[in-house]
Symmetry: D2
């Protein structure tokens, strides 16, 4: 059994990692840290883990020996203070924050507003989107797990960009459930604020913009322009990103369908469908992608559960690759559907 | 025009008061205070008041002269530091917090956990439920506006208690939308916590329990036992309180219907209906009450918009009585329905 | 008092018309028709109208004499069988369906899939968006009340188009609450389907597309291309339409702000704001518009309550113009805010 | 591998059975029937099953040979026309409708309003609540799977009744998500009706009343009086039933805690907790139970996912017992938590 740890076990992503890993056939959760809950039983804080996780929160990951891999599920800015020590001890690391996603330090510092303190390991980090970077992830010691918005957007956009059928300029109108904002209460995620509203926020200034640009640039011939408008919507789990492109020339629905089926036909977790459904993926590591030609434009939808394929599930999928497990080990569960 | 002020204009209740008073034919909003927003235009903070309220938040109510009546929409414990100065200057006051609802100081201090510092005015406060205490409110200088839960419960229970048909012991299972918890974010009202859940809280220890007991005692022959379990439900506005009684003896549905129709047949804002509906009252000062015999028991439902009939609307109704306006002035608007 | 009637009084729009008109100072609701509820008291079907509307549903509008104006709140295809008789008798009519919105019969028949049977009156119908067609509405006998999506989109787009600052090609990603779909249950509006989902539908084929194109063409120099993707979102009331344009050249946020403030600065019901809010307009005839430059693009948001400014409220605003009432008569009420 | 079939594969319960069984280690889904979708791929109708269920809907279960066990997930009244043929062929059956829950035919016919046509097999049906009737289920050929409300109520009430600490008269105020009402749209489950409301329904006349009474009678000394008021709440999955008892005499919280811990301490799927949480069980076969003394009364809460422990999950748990699988086979997955 591989011994894994989770730094930041109190938050939604940390809890979700534990939920998934607790039934994983090849892995043992050896440690979960929490500053605020150190000393408490994990299942007293997360009652849904009763009978599944029987350990106690520790304050520091270094209190636990013989770890093989650690998930870092802390806020931005904290992860980069944890990763160096892990790598130094030969422990593989998967960072679920934004700290290792942007390879250009100046871009990071501009969007996140603070210094990057681990520029040594930054270039080693592999972007953990298995459907596109499977081989690099296999050999990685450090994986930067994609953001939830970025995952949904890249899954929707990359096949089209690779196909060359569209202009390299995209408008993304994304809608996210509130769990994407994490467990810390705020005015925007206060139920009375958002429960009967749709709230566009960080219009043109959301931190996932450079992440998406960096990722899709790999598939574009030149620098890709991304106009990104996220919206908070009153659902708990789920993201749907609607991505609008201009077609370069005439193009039929059938040609578009072929592009996506060619890309995802063999994938376990990404499905190309006629009508995308958030409920079909919620609770699972599955994503749905859909695309429709409208006149000279095409709209592509990317749908994920932000906490699973958009965070913890994708991190476990990366872990499976890094450890040479079956890629779907511990993740083979359909979405709720209803 | 009567000149009124609102202490605590940033919160939900303060904003709702302004919303209602802004179109009131007999009243001018002369002052709104806010510690955090002093100096800002009210309609920049509450954008729904654009075109309706054109004043600026002040820090203290004493900055505005010639006020006739002031609404105190502050948290518990603050109101009692504002009311004495108002009354001393001959300004009538309506307190929307819990500070003047419980006439027994020791009960107040037990449930609220701090000293009561205005025991002089406490006995003068009239409980502001017009349908039952109309005459006392008319002559009052200080009104303690009922809590939202208490309003829904008393409207449902009082007619039955007065009728003598039921035992004086009631189980209240109440369900409240999140705006009843106010505008300050918390873990419980965080959308990801409550958006897809029903959360019983303060089981047996909610502060509205003694308020309800005190109010219903007036209609009971002896001390009334209230078992009160509130639940947070994922709607923004609205309360439905389900009140369960044992019938003393045989009793038909028709007898129960007569009791309620006798009580509320002439009321403008309380309606006895077959099937109670939260949406029918939301956005309005109306309440719906319904009652059903089930074997040897009876369940009575009380439904209000917690911010209107459960707070600001009822306060305006009390104001109308205190000022000899028409009781429904400024309040004559049906609920949304949908 | 003007005597008005409502054809189709059972549905959401018919009920909302009654809700608004019941407190209108210049109008009396003399008739409401309903095929399914003929003979029933209106307030027994719509319990929120208890105390406000005291009439009984009739089967046909012709049963009521001396009407001055009739609102037609029936489904598409029915209105055009009611309007001719009204106009023949000299009764003004406001149609809230899509029957009189498209002046080109062939466009109507293509998108609605049936013949238009009143091509005589079709050319006389004035498009009822007061902020842009005020003078035409004043003189009209027949008004085609805009659709809810179209209202939100035109309010957001027209000022930009008139300014000439943007390319005449717009992507509209609109999000609507479920009441926009009406009161008839369907699989898509079933709570278990949509309650925790965001559902794009009628992608590229929604009937409001030609309506929006026709309306915005009036402000564009040539034919406007509209790519319209509506989404069903789990809120009851409210629409936000996000409209994406390419800027023709360099343009600052300040220039954009000036365009909108110039357009709407004097309007009672449309407000240009920094952060648009659905809750600020819900329950009211107010709209909010917001616009933000992002690189070489601009996104403009239009927000309305689909049942009020998007339907019944706007119809009453048109009625006020047609009858020479004050334009805001009966409509002066702020949005709920919370 | 055991070959199982599902009659009624289109509905929520049928789909949920397939979702759970598709990853069950000991079982193969050999058949799913659907009148309306016969001939269609299951995963084209339920897109969440893509990659998990690769069969096609058939019209009749008899088209598939060599079945070992069949789940009957049809509406009430249909199951009893399917079960006899199954049992005749030696196929075990688990009925998820209400047809075999009430052993007294006259009670069934009174509450369901039609004849019972399989009175021969009715007495053989075992009530499928494993935590209380484990041994009987092991030997059964026909299991009547409990209703979702009944499951939540019995789990909350049975330990107290067995303890003798409470009077045998209970008030149940239950709150259910909309998926409990099934997939057929109706006015009550229309989003605009229920999305911002709490709707008590079938007050005193819900069909689960006799089921609960029959079940709890087994633990009571005499006939138990159940006052049952269900409420529709705007969540998709989840039930919380709040059960109010009078205590017979003095009783401490600790005594109550011991009763429940004694009952459920060794159970895999039922947990006694301080604060019950719907989200902690959603998506899983787990239940949470909580109980609190309030003066001379006690309130006990029972929480389940209505589609899992309240339907399909419990049916699979019963199947495991009937087939001598591990009781938790295929069901070992924590609730979503968030």
């Amino acid at each position: 059994m591989t011994r894994v740890g989770i730094i930041g076990g109190t938050g939604y992503t940390g809890g979700e990692l534990a939920r998934i890993l607790s039934t994983h056939p090849d892995v043992e959760i050896a440690a979960m840290t929490s500053r605020q809950n150190a000393g408490a039983k994990v299942s007293d804080i997360h009652s849904y883990l009763k009978g599944y996780v029987d350990i106690t929160f520790t304050e520091k990951i270094s209190e636990t020996k013989d770890l093989d891999l650690v998930f870092v599920a802390t806020p931005h800015g904290v992860a980069m203070s944890e990763v160096p020590a892990l790598l130094d001890q030969g422990i593989k690391a998967i960072d679920l924050s934004g700290d290792y996603r942007l390879h250009d330090v100046s871009v990071y510092e501009k969007w996140y507003g603070h210094k990057h303190t681990d520029t040594e390991n930054l270039p080693k980090a592999v972007y953990g989107l298995p459907e596109f970077f499977r081989d690099e992830i296999r050999g990685a010691d450090l994986v930067a797990n994609p953001g939830c918005y970025a995952t949904s957007i890249i899954l929707a956009c990359a096949p089209l960009l690779k196909s060359g059928l569209v202009e390299e300029d995209v408008i993304v109108d994304a809608k996210s459930g509130t769990s994407g904002a994490g467990m810390v209460p705020s005015q925007r995620t206060h139920h009375s604020t958002c429960g009967e509203s749709i709230i566009p926020y960080s219009v043109g200034s959301h931190r996932h913009t450079p992440e998406v640009e960096m990722a899709v640039d790999r598939f574009a011939s030149s620098h890709m322009n991304v106009t990104f408008v996220p919206n908070l919507v009153p659902i708990v789990r789920g993201i749907i990103s609607s991505c609008y492109f201009d077609l370069k020339g005439d193009c039929t629905q059938e040609e578009i369908d072929e592009v996506y089926e060619g890309q995802y036909g063999g994938e376990r977790f990404v499905h190309y469908v006629k009508e995308p459904s958030i409920r079909a993926v919620v609770g699972s590591n599955h994503a749905q992608v859909s695309s429709r030609v409208i006149g000279g434009k095409v709209v592509s939808f990317g749908v994920v559960d932000n906490l699973v394929k958009g965070a913890a599930g994708q991190a476990v999928q990366c872990m499976n690759l890094m450890l040479n497990n079956k890629e779907n080990a511990g993740l083979d569960m359909p979405g709720l559907g209803v």
